[in-house]
Symmetry: C3
Subunit: 346 residues, 3 copies
């Protein structure tokens, strides 16, 4: 069941520099752990040291490393993307089923395409539509009127509330919750009134939503994730957030209500984004940064504070608490110095 190097080259557009085109590849592995029949890859300089001694049958790498490669070399200008394609070709496909498990609970008026799979203990409410090829693992909940686009895959225990539109080829990982009520509160004499959350969620094609990530429904208009967005685990997306196409967001990020994030952005883990602001396209936010104002220029933005040993940290932080005072002293010293110099120069 292997795939020949010739076929891998053909399918990925990479070039076979050396090695037998007929060599069969059965698995992918790291440079360190690969053996005969495995293909590996070099996409990060830090691993170059393992190249000369790898026992892989073939290695995917950039042109400049082809010379050093002791095995067949599948050369690509973007070896990591080529590896992703090769691994997709070689790795076992996740199982694809069709039908409805006997234990699933379906409303009389929901629509499930015959080529879709509804796993054990799934619940599909009134008016929901499950398009062709969709795979719902066990324990998923699809609320009233929600639509799951063709070939999307929902892992175990995913909750999609009512009135949510999920595009095609979307992957949603276990425990994710899409379309829960937004945190809309009005204060009246010290008590909170709930503001009804009447919008929905629209998720474009080819989006991924990580495990235990939550995406709230809009208050009036929808919360929107454009095509190709990638969300890691444990992310919170509040009501009416808009995330532009092909933006990738790492784990534990919190995005407050009505924030609008551009296309092709990258947001590092644990970052926080305040509500009602705009981030333009092609912005990178590093880990644990707090964004409090709109960002109008592409580039890299940070406020994550790197660790120090605790004693240094405490000393420096104690000074931080005096920083305004210190700055004023420096100004005073400068003024004094100027006066002194001025006097001397008289």
């Amino acid at each position: 069941m292997g795939i020949t190097l010739a076929r891998l080259a053909e399918q990925t557009g990479a070039e076979l520099h050396q090695g037998e085109p007929d060599c069969e590849i059965n698995a992918v592995a790291t440079l360190q752990n690969a053996g005969a029949g495995d293909i590996s890859f070099l996409a990060n300089k830090g691993y170059r040291k393992y190249l000369s001694r790898t026992r892989a049958s073939a290695v995917i790498l950039a042109p400049e490393y082809a010379q050093e490669c002791p095995a067949a070399a599948l050369v690509s200008d973007n070896p990591y993307a080529t590896y992703a394609r090769v691994a997709s070709l070689i790795a076992p496909r996740p199982p694809q089923q069709a039908g409805v498990h006997a234990s699933a609970s379906l409303a009389a008026d929901c629509t499930v395409d015959a080529s879709a799979w509804v796993g054990p203990h799934c619940i599909i409410e009134s008016g929901a539509v499950i398009h062709p090829g969709v795979q719902l693992a066990g324990g998923c909940f699809i609320g009233a009127g929600s639509v799951i686009g063709a070939h999307s895959r929902l892992s175990a225990n995913v909750v999609v509330c009512h009135g949510v539109q999920v595009g095609e080829r979307v992957n949603i990982y276990p425990g994710a919750v899409i379309g829960s009520d937004g945190f809309g509160l009005a204060n009246e004499d010290g008590r909170w009134l709930n503001v009804p959350q009447l919008g929905g969620v629209r998720i474009g094609n080819d989006v991924e939503v990580g495990a235990n990530t939550t995406i709230d429904r809009g208050a009036l208009d929808d919360t929107v994730l454009e095509e190709g967005v990638r969300l890691d685990n444990q992310i919170q997306v509040a009501h009416n957030v808009h995330i532009g196409a092909h933006t990738a967001i790492a784990g534990c990020v919190g995005i407050s209500g009505s924030a609008s994030i551009g296309r092709h952005c990258m947001i590092g883990g644990g970052a926080g984004i305040v509500g009602h602001l705009e981030i333009t396209d092609n912005v990178t936010i590093t880990g644990m940064t707090l964004v409090t104002k709109s960002i109008t220029e592409p580039g890299v933005y940070s406020s994550g504070v790197p660790a120090q040993d605790n004693d240094s940290w405490n000393r420096n932080y104690a000074r931080f608490r005096q920083l305004d005072r210190i700055a004023r002293k420096v100004q005073a010293l400068e003024r004094h110095m100027d006066t002194t110099s001025a006097r001397k120069n008289k």
Copy 2:
């Protein structure tokens, strides 16, 4: 099925300034998107620019904007709260059911009121009590001896562990976990012993718990949320935390064990609160702030660090690492200056 403006005014205590009392309102919408039959609202100055051109049939707003309103004006001193009430009157009520779905799994000795709904695949353990009007969506777990108060609503896949008391009219959103064991560990020769977590959780009336939020049971006494508390998504509440009435907490906040938070507090997203401290009433904590000491005075507290462009950030942070040294230099300069001045003044 609309509601007249006269009726909306009467039910909310707002005053109809202009427009036909008999005008029927069918839906709520934003100023920008509203059309005939819609009511909109102006609660945030930033949206005033949309007022003059709105096509809404009516707008809820503060007295000072009534003049500018091109439609019927429903005037209120707290337009957002009035909007919340109006939307609750107009918006479709969430469906209310009664009975027990055939696929639910109930212990022989649990109690479910005839007016409550137990959805598909729910599990109710021994001794649990489900009061009148409670709505359990699919896949919920109610542990042994737990009590769900009247008219509370649990969304899909909510887990309430054993021995938890949930008040009346409480909303719990999907994936929330109430009453899991606290993180109680004793170290013995480098290994961790679990400290049995024997307390429960008590949740007051009219509380909301967001999606995938977790609230641990107490170690000996209970973890307590007083009435009217609002928790957003992805919040962690550790064992024996006490949260005072009408406090609202935004997403991704972590509260460590035995922290006590007052009434009417507001805690911004991503904040962290260290254990065994007290925060008094009416305290506001801004986003991503770390609270390490008790707060005894009402007011606003912060330590969330706003983003800068990466180059500026790196330069400033490099100086932060030298801050204690810089502060000492400034002191030395001041002393030197004083000496010089003193000498001159002799």
Copy 3:
């Protein structure tokens, strides 16, 4: 059903200093709330003030407080660990069942030991193995080929994806997700390609995984938690992370891909750990710290910024934005001073 003090002393290795060996203890309680038949403990100096007036029948405490104890004293050098053992002896054991609930959905070729319990609505996929004494509460999902070691307990709605190895006596709390796909992305012309996540997760014996915590599977090799690791709630563990034995991690921590954390480390709540770095054994990271570089020396590391009142914070933070400029001014002042002094000393 009580246990005598003599028996508690014998079972825990503590010493009964005063009090009747035959006194029966029925429950554990805090010093403040304890009554007759209760045993309490003093493990934190802050609670010493409650000792003299406790009405507990016995108190577990360190030798130096035995004199002050108004009740029977169970003396131990590690009173908190002794308390943990005593509470485990006294507190009701969680219920233990055997069998498979009728509503569970089991693949034909999975293996469930006769002494294990599979609760309502659980799903066990093909080839999975459930070892003796395992307790699966309701709604758990065990993916294809995964193994749950003897006497492990999974609370409600836990998801274990395919190909995950869970050790013995492991506790996994509600909503936790083990073995979801890692966040592996290759960028090709601005679009993200998924890198197949082909590794698994290996969890050692006596590990605990908190509620709604997520642990991703490895990209090629496995994600690994060694024995005795303790994870609190809402933690994100990315692909190929390695956590050494007996390390404890508090809630809301995010650990990026391929980070390696040593043994006996303690990581405070809300901390973030960047990927591809190493933290040696016996390192403590305080709450909300960001670790951006490898840590090679044991010790305490910090960057969590404690709160200030908002006005002070804003003033100091405004100066932080000028910090590099301030530092340069201080250098200029120093140079000026040196020149002046040098001139004077000529």
